[in-house]
Symmetry: C2
Subunit: 125 residues, 2 copies
Amino acid sequence: LFALGRQLTIEYYDCAPGALLDPVEIETAFLKAADESHATVITSSFHKFEPQGVSGVVIIAESHFTVHAWPEHNYAAVDIFTCGDSIDIKRAVDSLTLSLGSAHVVVSSDRNRGLIPYGPRKKTV
Amino acid sequence: LFALGRQLTIEYYDCAPGALLDPVEIETAFLKAADESHATVITSSFHKFEPQGVSGVVIIAESHFTVHAWPEHNYAAVDIFTCGDSIDIKRAVDSLTLSLGSAHVVVSSDRNRGLIPYGPRKKTV
C-alpha cells in the first residue's frame, strides 16, 4: 500500500502567556513555520473569536497547517497534513514550539492518509 | 480530564467519477454538510491544483472541516474538528458521503484534542 498523505496532530500545551491572543501574530508564526519547512504557501486565513480564541489555516501546495488556539488554557491544537516528501515536518513543529513558546509539546498522532494499492507513479511497461 | 476538541479523520474512497474535479462543487458540498450538521460557517477557501486535485477548508465557529481530494484516485481525505456538543458529526459525514458519491467511507480516527484537567466552566465557590 502507498499513502497519499501524512498527518500529524500536535498539542501545544503551556504556551507563553499572551502568545495565543493575536491572530496576526499567530498567522505570522504559521507562515514562518511553513516557509522554514519548505512548504509552498497557497493561501492563509486566520480568525479571532470573541472574547478570545483563534482559528486558522494555511493551505500549502502540499496540503495544510491548521490551528485552533484556546488562550485561556495556553493551548493550541495544530495539524500538519502533507503529501510528498519535500516538507521538513520536524522543522515546522520546532518552529511553532519556539513561536508559541510552548513548554509541553505532544505529537498526539502521526498517521498515513489515503492508502491506495499502488504508488503515484505508473510503472513503465 | 476534559477535552477541548474532538477530531475525526475520514477517508472517502471510491468517490463518484468526476465528483472531485470541480472546487466549486466540492465547496458547495462542504458548506451543505456544515449547514446540515448545524455548524456556523465563518469562512471557506477552496483551491484547485493543476492538472488536478482540490484542497479546501471551511472554518466554522466550532473549528473546521478540511478536504484534500485526489480525483485520479477517486479519494478525498476529510477532517472534521469540533468543539462543544452542538455539531451533528454523523450528519456531516453522511452528507459528504452522498455529495461525493463515496462507496467506501472509513472513519480512520476519532480522537480528543486538548486534554485539560478541568472543564471549561469554573466551579462556583
